[in-house]
């Protein structure tokens, strides 16, 4: 091969990688928790502080754990999607009110509607740390045995719901 062709060859390889890169989403970070048991926690419910909720309560069901906060703008974006999902009763949704004040969280749900079967408070974000949350919203699909099967980083979009979360949930519910 002629030496002067080398730069062109290098460039062509680079273009191939860039083209493949265009089809990928760099924000899609897989969670190390996928296919691992969901970390156990017991925490007060937002609406009934005296009746703590435990992740163990959900054993035997396929459920969605959705972290949210009243200060989170992207949560407002995903909120209508969750409201629609709640109406279909396809699976229980548990909210994790992350690093938020109870009063603010309650006000937020009263204003925008409450899609959650129950909401758990995580004022200091400790449960969030166990789940590897580094920004709200994030959602976890957890199977009957209490194993995390899917993680959605960022808002639950209509596409993510229809293409990934619901098909997987139906499969797991069988």
């Amino acid at each position: 091969m002629k030496k002067t062709l080398i730069p062109l060859a290098i460039f062509l390889v680079l273009v191939v990688f860039l083209a493949i890169g265009l089809t990928r989403d760099p924000h899609e970070v897989p969670s190390p928790l996928i296919n691992k048991p969901a970390p156990a926690f017991t925490a007060p419910r937002l609406h009934a502080v005296n009746q703590p909720f435990s992740a163990k309560d959900m054993l035997g069901q396929v459920w969605l754990l959705n972290t949210w906060a009243s200060w989170c703008v992207a949560c407002r974006q995903e909120h209508p999607v969750l409201m629609e999902l709640a109406k279909t009763r396809a699976l229980p949704i548990v909210g994790l009110n992350y690093k938020d004040q109870d009063a603010d969280g309650l006000k937020w749900l009263a204003r925008f509607g409450n899609p959650y079967d129950t909401t758990v408070t995580d004022k200091d974000g400790r449960i969030g740390i166990d789940y590897g949350v580094y920004g709200v919203p994030e959602s976890f699909l957890i199977d009957k045995a209490g194993v995390i099967r899917y993680k959605q980083i960022g808002p639950v979009t209509e596409e993510a719901l229809q293409d990934k979360i619901l098909p997987l949930a139906r499969e797991l519910q069988k």
Partner: protein, 655 residues
């Protein structure tokens, strides 16, 4: 109406650029004087149309025309006037228009300052740049039009990203783009020379001042960006090896190699293929940077709204421009006859070694930047490459660069004797080693890295001073020393100043992260900080908590610093405005963190830093740019010259 006129001007510009590109390049190739005559007026018309269009967008911003989608997304009626103007390039579409405006401004400059060049060359160069402009105009008009209207006109705009509401936005992007786009000029000269088939000393001399000018703007742009990140982000850092920073640093590294390689090609007629490939690479990396930033293939703090359509377009554009150029290179480069020969010990050798090292440094930064993408494309998982990789790879490559830089400037062209060179340099080496290894003792703890960094800095400065001394001793009067001689030494001393800054900050910076209530003190680097008050203050489009922090040294209050935490109405992210006290030898830096506790004794998180010599990092960059300006303005570039390819080398100066 005004936005439509701006839009229309942009469409007209597309046709002008297309006509300019085709007619001037073909005219230059076939020697048709009538077509070649179009090149200069064509470039000037393109500039006028672009400037007009740019003015229209600025007008829409200034008058808060929120019916324009781009304005509605990046401005707000409460935004101060200065940022309403600078906000024009605060988002993707407008910054592309700025990119294009810079390109046409360079073209305007070429059309005005090219009287000493043959018409065919000017015609080809302007035509090629016109074709590049076609690509960017198409990109804007198809995927990123800043003039699109909204049918639903919002009452107010979404506001400019608060991080960008800073004087830094006014200067950093224009400077950076000037540099980025400026490498289009040596690129066009290189391609024109390939088309012409004559890669001679004249071609190198023509492109040298342009390459140097682009390089100096890029240097300033990068320095401004680094300084901006330093005071605005509130992390105290000045370089993060973020993909977008790397995207600007890559053309800088290759551009540095290019301006030195051009020197050899001009003086000795050597390294022609090298120079061509460096010119193509520098501009390709500018385009690649644009791709990386705009397509969303990498995660970065400089998040532009990404759109796969845009990514596909730039990738196509990149493939056509770079693929086409490299194909032309492969076809034509072998025809270039090689110039004279040079001995192993000669200035040529050292310049070549440094060019190889700079290119290697660029390649390793590029690899680190693209590695996540490559790994993902090969389905090997997702990962990110952080500063540890870059520091580990980059520093060891740059150390020999700094060593050879001096040897190269001392060595004679063509052939030198190793013993004579040793004799000339060993005193400099000895003195700088002694000074460099004792200086860290003055700063406190001795460390090998600090000693190495300071030794290298002394090595460069002493060598340059020695050469300046000799030059002045051996010549009569100031005027006989060319401006480029001064330019080279000022730039090299700038590197040394920058190295001192980096070494001192890396070696001796101290920081503390503390919780403070009113009256608390914290000490860092011999300074004591006392939090005396925190009050609420209202800005035009934000509310802020402003701290009063007394800076105390030896029991005396030097001044009160005011770090701020701002909550912009349009954003949920609080912004940190660090308070910095700068002096020649150190910065002290206070940034106000989160409010930790309310109530009677509110507590705040505070970060305080002591950063010795940090301003030297940017000061060094300013010196480099100044040196670049002196070299680019050297008289001899303005002379009409027909010197043969291997002209005798006047004097001993490199530049």
């Amino acid at each position: 109406m005004i936005p439509e006129i701006g839009h229309f001007a942009l469409i007209l510009a597309l046709f002008v650029a297309l006509a300019l590109g085709l007619l001037s390049v073909i005219g230059g190739q076939q020697g048709r004087a009538d077509w070649m005559a179009l090149a200069r007026p064509g470039a000037q018309a393109l500039w006028l149309l672009t400037a007009f269009s740019f003015g229209c967008l600025t007008y829409a911003f200034y008058t808060n025309d929120f019916s324009v989608s781009y304005v509605a997304q990046h401005s707000n009626s409460k935004l101060p006037g200065l940022y309403r103007v600078a906000g024009v390039w605060g988002g993707h579409e407008g910054s592309l228009l700025l990119w294009h405006f810079m390109l046409t401004s360079w073209m305007l400059a070429v059309s005005l300052f090219s009287r000493q060049l043959p018409d065919a060359m000017v015609s080809r160069v302007l035509g090629l740049l016109g074709l590049v402009a076609v690509g960017f105009l198409l990109f804007m008009l198809i995927t990123s039009n800043p003039f699109l209207r909204l049918s639903d006109i919002p009452a107010d705009g979404r506001d400019l990203n608060p991080l960008l509401q800073d004087p830094g936005l006014v200067f950093h992007p224009p400077m950076l783009y000037m540099g980025y786009v400026g490498f289009a000029i040596p690129f066009a000269f290189a391609i024109a020379a390939l088309l012409n088939g004559r890669l001679d000393a004249a071609w190198a001399r023509w492109s040298r001042p342009w390459a140097t000018a682009a390089w100096l703007f890029l240097t300033l742009g990068i320095a401004l960006g680094s300084w901006w990140a330093y005071y605005e982000l509130g992390w105290g850092g000045w370089w993060f090896w973020d993909p977008v920073e790397n995207a600007s640093f890559l053309p800088w590294l290759v551009g540095t190699a290019l301006i030195h390689s051009l020197a050899v090609t001009e003086k000795r007629g050597l390294f022609r293929n090298w120079t061509i490939i460096l010119a193509i690479t520098a501009f390709s990396l500018s385009l690649l940077g644009t791709f990386l930033v705009r397509s969303g293939v990498l995660t970065s703090v400089h998040a532009f709204a990404s759109d796969p359509k845009r990514g596909v377009f730039i990738l196509l554009f990149l493939s056509v421009v770079v693929g086409g150029s490299l194909t032309l290179f492969a076809m034509r480069a072998s025809k270039v006859r090689s110039g004279g020969s040079f001995a192993l010990v000669s200035r040529e050798t050292f310049l070549l070694v440094n060019n190889v090292l700079l290119t290697t440094a660029a390649a390793s930064v590029l690899l680190g930047t693209l590695y996540p993408l490559i790994i993902d494309a090969l389905n090997l998982g997702k990962l990110s490459v952080g500063p540890p990789y870059f520091n580990a790879v980059f520093a060891p490559i740059m150390v020999p660069v700094l060593v050879f830089m001096v040897i190269g400037s001392f060595a004679r062209w063509k052939s030198d004797s190793a013993t004579a060179l040793m004799q000339r340099l060993s005193p400099v080496a000895m003195v700088s080693m002694v000074l460099g290894s004792t200086a860290p003792l003055l700063a406190g703890a001795w460390s090998a890295l600090a000693a190495l960094g300071l030794t290298l800095a002394f090595w460069i400065v002493l060598a340059s001073l020695l050469q300046i001394y000799r030059q002045l001793r051996d010549t009569v009067g100031w005027t006989s020393t060319p401006a480029s001689f001064w330019g080279m030494h000022v730039a090299h001393i700038g590197i040394a100043v920058c190295v001192v800054g980096i070494t001192m900050v890396k070696g001796y910076e101290t920081e503390k992260d503390v919780r403070m209530v009113l009256g608390d003190t914290v000490s860092v680097g011999g300074y004591t900080f006392r939090l005396t008050g925190i009050r609420a203050e209202a800005g035009p489009n934000y509310n802020a908590d402003v701290g009063d922090v007394e800076l105390i040294r030896d029991g005396r209050v030097l001044k009160t610093l005011h770090p701020e935490k701002r909550n912009y109405f349009s954003s949920t992210m609080p912004m940190t405005e660090a308070a910095i006290d700068t002096s020649l030898v150190r910065d002290v830096y206070v940034s106000l963190g989160e409010r930790l506790e309310d109530g009677k004794a509110p507590a705040w998180a505070m970060r305080v830093y002591h950063k010795p010599f940090i301003t030297w990092i940017w000061g060094g960059c300013v010196l480099m740019a100044l040196g670049g300006a002196m070299a680019a303005l050297d008289r001899r570039y303005r002379r009409k010259s027909t010197a043969p390819a291997t002209a005798p080398i006047p004097g001993g100066a490199l530049a």
